[in-house]
């Protein structure tokens, strides 16, 4: 039973990791909390759903979710971030909030506020391995996450663009002196984070076999906690924090009741903010943000 | 007045401050007597700004003591030190952007007034507060910009407003961080005259400045810092002739 919860938690954690990485990309490089990511996550899920219900293959659904979310993220970067990039970081954050409000309204109007269920054939087969059973959907979630994280790692650590991203994260002014075009890179950061969030949306839809317009607020916001716990200045902290929080959450629901889970997760986040702002993986001092 | 007659107002004794591995201040000792204008000079990065921050409580000294008129202020929080009578200005002018000049002078006088009084409209502040603000306004010649928002003022006027704000609460010691940076000769002269007037009115001044001519003309005593260490001190003409000082400046420039 415990092991089963572990597996379930891992699956949820994988989705958290993706969304947290999405938040951390923009936060780490620009210092901005892009609140629209929660809704890009949701929209990605709906786009993926639409593709699935058209009987198109699953990989296409994931790509559709990623592409759609990435496109919207680019729009947000151009309208909501670029003009405000020299203002205190809370201002662009509020701008992304505006976008998230718009996105949720759009989703509710297009797809309705009731949950959309996946067609039955997508519940997938369950495989039994010893004491645990895992569904093919869960395997897809875990597999896709691994692929996406590996791809992101490759881009960030191995490519020159990734190096440039990291340079900008360290110091915008120095990066500019080195000839790095900051505005192209911020666009890239937004697009990458949108793509990750969109993928996560499709995956969570597969995991729960359903999607609602409120999934952004329910799950997406908690990914902020995951990012903080993993360490806002260390994006790879999300790899550890994601599964950790996913498992904690699933355990809490199993043994404490579903109502306490938010309390526990956000409580953990606040504790980290106050006691260990650099996150569980350590690193440079976080928690010193800009004034409003 | 000879040094022996003067009572010590500010005393730093073997103050040390390190950041990571960097010794911003090493064993710095100095003395500012009442009614003196003392200058701190030295190349960039010598530790002058750190010293101001340590005196005002923004940083805590790792070793050594700081005392004001005999009272230890080494570990006190900034607002306590400010209320004990130390004020400062900043090299890059830190005013309250959206407030008017008048409001700056009012808000700089929170001491000794009860909460109830401070909850009343500004115009109902005690006559003492209003009178003091008016006094300072006139002293610095800022009547014309009384109701102008700080952000909208020209640079030279902003510097004056910052000094005015620092002086309003009747401090014993005023720390000025490069008060004439970026000013032309006339503006600097203006500031110099104001500083002398303040000194004559009983205020002691500690000054960081790069403009050597300005410093020579004004200070009673100088300390020279380099790499966090006091390498020379004395009357201005003594210090100017000191080969160590020339070395420090020229060495940095090359």
């Amino acid at each position: 039973m415990l092991l089963q919860q572990f597996v379930n938690g891992l699956t949820l954690g994988a989705v958290y990791t993706l969304i947290a990485l999405s938040f951390a990309l923009v936060m780490g490089i620009l210092g901005v909390l892009n609140l629209a990511i929660a809704e890009l996550f949701m929209i990605g899920g709906y786009l993926g759903f639409s593709v699935i219900t058209l009987n198109l293959p699953l990989p296409l659904a994931i790509v559709a979710g990623m592409a759609g979310a990435a496109l919207i993220a680019a729009v947000i970067e151009k309208i909501g971030y670029q003009p405000l990039r020299d203002t205190p970081v809370v201002t662009p954050m509020l701008s992304t909030l505006g976008f998230s409000i718009i996105l949720q309204n759009v989703a509710t109007n297009i797809w309705g506020s009731d949950p959309l269920q996946l067609p039955d054939e997508f519940l997938g087969t369950r495989y039994v391995i010893g004491p645990i059973s895992i569904s093919s959907m869960q395997l897809i979630v875990l597999g896709a996450t691994a692929v996406l994280v590996a791809a992101l790692a490759y881009v960030v650590q191995r490519t020159s663009i990734g190096r440039a991203l990291r340079a900008v994260a360290e110091n915008r002014d120095v990066a500019r002196l080195l000839g790095v075009s900051a505005s192209r890179l911020t666009l890239l950061a937004f697009v990458l984070s949108g793509a990750l969030a969109g993928a996560a949306g499709v995956l969570i839809g597969l995991h729960y076999a359903a999607i609602t317009p409120y999934i952004g607020v329910e799950i997406g916001l908690k990914a902020i906690a995951v990012m903080v716990i993993g360490g806002t200045t260390r994006i790879w902290g999300a790899l550890v924090a994601g599964p950790l929080i996913g498992i904690i959450e699933v355990m809490t629901v199993a043994y404490g009741g579903s109502q306490v889970r938010d309390f526990v997760v956000y409580g953990f986040m606040i504790a980290i903010l106050l006691l260990r702002p650099q996150g569980i993986l350590g690193g440079t001092q976080g928690g010193q943000g800009q004034r409003v | 007045m000879s040094p022996a007659d003067q009572t010590s107002l500010l005393n730093l004794n073997a103050v040390t401050k390190t950041f990571g591995g960097i010794h911003a201040l090493s064993d710095v000792s100095c003395d500012v007597a009442q009614g003196q204008i003392v200058g701190f000079i030295g190349p960039n990065g010598a530790g002058k700004a750190t010293m101001f921050n340590v005196i005002t409580g923004a940083y805590r000294a790792d070793r050594g003591t700081i005392s004001l008129a005999g009272t230890m202020i080494t570990a006190q929080p900034p607002y306590r030190i400010a209320r004990s009578g130390i004020s400062r200005t900043f090299q890059n002018i830190r005013l309250f952007g959206d407030m008017t000049v008048w409001e700056h002078l009012i808000v700089a006088q929170p001491h000794g007034e009860s909460l109830l009084r401070r909850l009343l409209p500004i115009g109902w502040a005690s006559p003492g507060v209003l009178h003091r603000a008016q006094e300072v306004l006139e002293f610095f010649g800022l009547e014309a910009v009384r109701n102008r928002v700080a952000r909208s003022l020209p640079y030279g006027i902003q510097r004056k407003v910052e000094m005015a704000r620092a002086v309003t609460a009747r401090p014993k010691l005023l720390l000025l961080d490069e008060p004439v940076a970026g000013m032309n000769h006339d503006e600097a002269e203006d500031i110099r005259k104001l500083m002398l007037q303040l000194r004559d009115a009983g205020l002691s001044i500690l000054l960081i400045e790069h403009d050597m001519a300005f410093v020579m003309n004004l200070c009673d005593y100088l300390y020279v810092l380099d790499f966090g260490v006091v390498i020379a001190q004395g009357r201005p003409h003594e210090v100017r002739a000191n080969p160590l000082v020339l070395d420090a400046y020229l060495g940095r420039a090359s």
């Binding site: 970081v89 909030l97 409000i101 928690g287 409003v292 | 005002t56």
Partner: protein, 278 residues
């Protein structure tokens, strides 16, 4: 006034108080995204007092306000360690924790909600809303407000001028919490049924929206924002399904074009025919 419009104005009054709670904390440079949580605490405390203990509504609101003010002060202390976005995230988390707490708190109904409150009139709501608005407007003309502004504009310089920045920031949280609590208590007695879902992130965002849109530098801005958020959807009926998107878009436009919001000091003076200060 028809019950429909009475309901709208009641909503506006409640939202005004919520917006004021964000405004007063924002005046010290702290953005709080969790005031709905404080509103929720106020709602539940007030309801408990009137329904289970039989305290009259005005006394109950006062007690809830003071209690929540104390909670706000307690929250304000750890908040001192956080700035900007980190503070925003922490307050967001706090709001969610409060909502989650009430989901589990069966003595007050848990997820099933709480009811039994007696309905109050629009006039009563606006007695509180209008009264507190006037109090804040009076506060804005005081030296304490200058101190808050100083802390917001440059906390370090404020400390060096002798201001107790800690006291100012924590007190602002306390005051904001008290006002949010009253908003909650009034909400509870307007809708005579409350559940934890009423006090989630979306509600906190409504408060912030009202302040940012209506005017984040003057207290009447909260009033403008509250009226805007409640009345605009009525005036633009065709917008009905898209009103949230419209507000989201308005938020973006305001941040791009007029960051201080609709009302600011000079416009307010113009609108109230007052001349500039001499």
């Amino acid at each position: 006034m028809s019950t429909y419009y009475a309901g709208l104005f009641a909503d506006a009054g409640i939202l005004l108080l919520g917006a004021l709670s964000v405004y007063i904390i924002l005046a010290t440079g702290q953005l709080s995204l969790g005031n709905a949580g404080l509103m929720g605490i106020g709602a539940y405390v007030t309801s408990y007092l009137t329904v289970n203990v039989g305290v009259p509504i005005t006394a109950a609101l006062t007690i809830a306000g003071i209690a929540c003010g104390a909670i706000g002060v307690v929250v304000g202390f750890p908040a001192l360690h956080l700035k900007g976005i980190y503070l925003a995230m922490a307050t967001l988390g706090f709001g969610e924790m409060v909502r989650s707490f009430f989901l589990n708190f069966s003595p007050m109904g848990g997820a099933g909600g709480f009811h039994g409150m007696k309905h109050i009139s629009v006039g009563y709501i606006w007695a509180w809303a209008g009264g507190l608005l006037i109090v804040v407007m009076l506060l804005e003309r005081s030296r304490v407000w200058l101190e808050m502004q100083a802390v917001r504009d440059d906390e370090t310089a404020a400390g060096l001028v002798g201001l107790k920045t800690t006291t100012t920031k924590v007190a602002a949280f306390g005051a904001g919490a008290a006002i949010a609590a009253i908003s909650g208590g009034l909400f509870a007695h307007q809708f005579v049924y409350i559940e934890p879902g009423n006090f989630g992130f979306e509600r906190s965002i409504d408060f912030v929206l009202a302040v940012i849109l209506g005017g984040s530098t003057v207290a009447p801005g909260a009033l403008a924002g509250a009226m805007l958020l409640v009345l605009l959807p009525e005036m633009l009926r065709f917008l009905a399904d898209w009103r949230l998107a419209a507000f989201g878009g308005l938020l973006i436009v305001v941040l791009l074009v007029r960051r201080q919001g609709i009302l600011d000091r000079s416009l307010f003076r113009l609108v109230t025919f007052r001349s500039s200060p001499t």
